[in-house]
């Protein structure tokens, strides 16, 4: 009797296990299903957070005034702003389209736009750094950005800097998302500019509205039928949290999801060979790099920093773990931009050269350094490869991995030796983007209001700062290019605080029956353009 019981129990387990797979083989033709990791999506306020994944969600929920052409970032295309012009004094005047409405039904007016552009600074939100960059402050922004009638917005220059840069760096980014003023004000608590409300709710006019958000589980976006573009072909977008890269790939291969955003190198290599799946590699403007603190007693020596440059196995990395994550380019200004060099910086893995430089600096006997890294590929891969290759020159590297809040927390306090990073500017097509992140550091004190990568590495040079400010104000393009050449040369002489691994690629894999989605280098890929065949 007990035996039959056992058999029954076993049968139950296996019967359930062998039940026909009831999941649909393909996703419905009017719904888009995306797999990515949502661990970094902590809230929905478009002005208050800057993760890669979050940026994509905001892009669908909120309209911006303009966008950059994903295939040529220097071209600005109209969104809510129908047209714009620069007046002689440098003012930017934008005309808004009049048929746009928010998800709440309120009309999108100049008043909403002005409020949205004041909000980051007045509410001390994360997006405010891109406004500060150009010279806007909480004190001057209300004066400088104003409405003229219902559908005209005027933006005055806070500094000599050309406002085109502002269009790229703020207006075309999620930092320039337009929020529903009336709705936000209705839900304001203690002067928080609706921050608490927008963290969990939708206040936009974008092609999709937020239907549901279960943190670390899924996000459901519904098509907004009254969108001025007429509405996407997709009635719904599901964004699923699939933290395991391999699970994401399996589901993509089986057609359970249409797009996968966070895969590992071997996945891309294998998916590339799959005729049903298309792997898109668009070069972004940031870099994978190893940042060095110049405040460190050994790394403060430019010769040591230069020596580390010869201790990265560039070719090996490129051919293995970095194939789908970076392109070889090691100059501080991204290839192809105004002021970029034609030739790449000559870098190579050269232990003898590194040893020579270390000996000159007085560290022939080696040293111990700690490298911080995110625990995900390819960051951890760069750290591990560097650890091994640097040991050839007697450098003992200790790898410490962690989540972003650990790794960058230490960097913020400027307490680190080395960090594997992915940044150094280039969320927009102008060279200022690169230099503003990697070398511009107007205030090297702890209280600085600009804590970019240069600041975090305690990299400070007065002359370089002046050169950067002058170049940003210059109107003549060829003169400007020349100025950026000089900036890069001067920077190289100072001994950069970064070892560039390569120019960033954010690949993603999409099933071939999904058309129209073009990955955007500045994290604003539009999913509303998707069409399924």
């Amino acid at each position: 009797m007990f035996k039959s019981n056992t058999i029954a129990a076993c049968l139950l387990v296996f019967a359930v296990g062998a039940a026909p797979d009831r999941a649909l083989a393909e996703t419905p033709s009017d719904q888009l299903v995306i797999g990515m990791t949502l661990a970094n999506v902590l809230q929905m306020d478009p002005h208050d957070t800057g993760s890669y994944e979050k940026s994509h969600i905001s892009t669908q929920m909120y309209d911006r005034l303009v966008e950059m052409d994903p295939e040529n970032e220097s071209i600005l295309r109209p969104l809510l702003a129908e047209s714009w012009e620069f007046e002689e004094n440098g003012d930017l005047v934008m005309q808004l389209r009049q048929d746009a409405v928010f998800h709440s039904g309120n009309k999108v007016t100049a008043e909403d736009v002005v409020y949205s552009l004041h909000r980051p600074l007045l509410g001390a939100m994360n997006a405010s750094s891109t406004f500060r960059d150009v010279g806007f402050t909480p004190e001057n922004v209300e004066e400088l950005i104003t409405a003229e009638g219902d559908y005209t917005v005027r933006i005055r220059r806070p500094s000599d800097m050309n406002l085109v840069i502002f269009m790229y760096s703020a207006l075309a980014q999620t930092a320039g998302s337009i929020v529903d003023k009336q709705l936000v004000l209705e839900n304001e608590v203690d002067g928080d500019f609706g921050n608490a409300f927008l963290k969990n709710n939708d206040g936009g006019s974008g092609p999709f509205s937020l239907n549901r958000w279960n943190p670390n589980e899924l996000i459901v976006l519904d098509r907004f039928d009254d969108h001025w573009l007429g509405g996407s072909e997709m009635s719904r977008i599901f964004i699923m949290h699939i933290p395991e890269a391999q699970a994401q790939r399996l589901q993509l291969e089986r057609g359970d999801i249409d797009m996968a955003y966070t895969l590992s190198p071997s996945d891309y290599a294998s998916l590339d060979a799959n005729p049903d799946i298309d792997v898109q590699k668009v070069i972004g403007d940031g870099y994978y790099h190893i940042a060095m603190s110049t405040d460190h007693e050994i790394l403060g020596d430019p010769k040591v920093r230069l020596a580390l440059r010869y201790l990265v196995p560039y070719d090996g990395l490129q051919e293995s773990v970095m194939t789908y994550f970076s392109e070889p380019w090691h100059q501080p200004i991204s290839r192809g931009k105004v002021g970029a060099f034609d030739e790449d910086l000559p870098v190579s893995y050269d232990v003898d050269k590194a040893k020579e430089l270390l000996a000159e600096a007085g560290y022939a006997d080696g040293m111990e350094l700690e490298i911080l890294t995110l625990s995900q590929p390819p960051f951890i891969d760069i750290a591990t490869a560097f650890q091994e290759s640097a040991s050839a020159a007697g450098i003992d590297v200790k790898v410490t991995q962690g989540a972003g809040s650990v790794v960058y927390g230490q960097m913020r306090q400027r307490e680190f030796d080395l960090i594997v990073g992915r940044n150094l500017g280039g969320k927009y097509g102008d060279p200022h983007s690169n230099v503003a992140s990697s070398m511009y550091n107007p205030d090297n004190t702890e209280a600085s209001s600009l804590q970019n990568y240069a600041w975090r590495c305690s990299f400070y040079d007065e002359e370089l700062n002046a050169m950067i400010e002058a170049a940003a104000a210059e109107q003549d393009e060829s003169k400007r290019a020349e100025m950026y050449h000089e900036i890069q040369n001067h920077y190289e002489e100072l001994g950069p605080p970064f070892v560039m691994i390569g120019q960033r690629i954010d690949p993603f894999a999409v099933r071939t029956n999904v058309k129209g989605v073009i990955r955007h280098p500045s994290w604003t890929t539009r999913w509303d353009l998707a069409v399924k065949e």
Binding site: P265, S266, S270, A385, E388
Partner: protein, 299 residues
């Protein structure tokens, strides 16, 4: 399973305590090794120790040497267990990894046993408020699952092998303390201790010289029973990225990084995970044999 740990010896009444112990031990050992599965466990652990000691001789490659031109090679003549994403030889990494597994088990055991003994014996012998406070502390630790608590500790201390060992130790001492306390309570009321006390020995001396040695055998057995759990907790921490850091060839961490290559290169995660399974099974077989031998109901 505190009730199970009583060492009994068969045969005639012993003349001295020492003799009785020896006889009990002999009987225990012969019963213990008479089970084939237990012997299998002992053999596997023996191989593990052998591997750890002679790792440099057994390994075919350096466990750290990268070869970026030959990554993800399947198992074969060049690499017996294949190569990983940096072209490192997995067989050699497994061989060297045995050292870390043993190190973790050994370090946790030698940390946990004294702490548990001390807390338990002091608590049991002193009684009163000392007992209340110490046992309340033990309860706090016990009212939380081991891995989750170790996770919290290691997240606070920072990831790394040493911190993982510390975190596991912090979570593994309470059961030992409870056991030692229970034993102490029985010992305390024995005539023997009463006699020592009458001779004027200080409480400290009594605990250290008389109570602790008598608790020791059962504590050692209890620690042995726990070894498989230690291995699995360490592997779990390694899997969550909080254990040993690269390039240390710790098996849990190897499984963790290997999962990014699971479909195309199963050996990256499959082999180290299998190694964990094998060793943890061996410790469990030994533990099971121990328990069986000691369980009065089974004899």
């Amino acid at each position: 399973m505190t009730e199970a740990i009583i060492i009994e010896g068969p045969g005639a009444p012993p003349e001295t305590a020492g003799q009785a112990r020896m006889r009990a031990l002999r009987g225990f050992v012969s019963r213990f090794v008479s089970k084939p599965l237990t012997v299998l466990g002992l053999i596997i652990v023996g191989v593990l120790i052998f591997t750890a000691i002679f790792a440099p001789l057994l390994a075919t490659h350096s466990p750290f040497a990268q070869d970026l031109a030959n990554t993800l090679q399947p198992p074969g003549a060049a690499h017996w267990f294949g190569s990983d994403e940096y072209g490192r030889d997995i067989y050699s990494r497994i061989v060297y990894g045995s050292r870390y597994t043993l190190l973790i088990v050994f370090m946790v055991s030698v940390t946990v046993a004294p702490i548990g003994l001390l807390v338990g014996c002091v608590s049991g012998y002193a009684g009163g408020w000392v007992d209340t406070v110490l046992m309340r502390l033990t309860d706090i630790f016990l009212s939380f699952p081991g891995l989750a608590l170790a996770l919290a500790f290691v997240a606070a201390l920072g990831a790394g092998l040493e911190n993982a060992i510390l975190a596991i130790s912090l979570t593994a001492w309470p059961p030992i303390a409870r056991l030692a306390r229970a034993e102490t309570l029985t010992i305390r009321s024995s005539d023997y201790i009463a006699a020592v006390r009458l001779l004027g020995a200080s409480p400290l001396r009594i605990v250290v010289r008389h109570v602790v040695p008598m608790c020791l055998p059962s504590v050692i057995i209890r620690v042995t029973l726990n070894m498989a759990a230690i291995i699995l907790t360490a592997a779990g921490l390694g899997f969550l990225g909080l254990g040993a850091q690269p390039p240390v060839p710790e098996w849990g961490a190897m499984t963790s990084t290997g999962r990014n290559y699971l479909i195309d290169a199963w050996w990256l995660a499959g082999i180290p995970g299998g190694a964990i399974l094998l060793v943890s099974l061996a410790f469990n077989l030994i533990g099971d044999g121990l328990r069986d031998t000691l369980d009065p109901r089974a004899s």
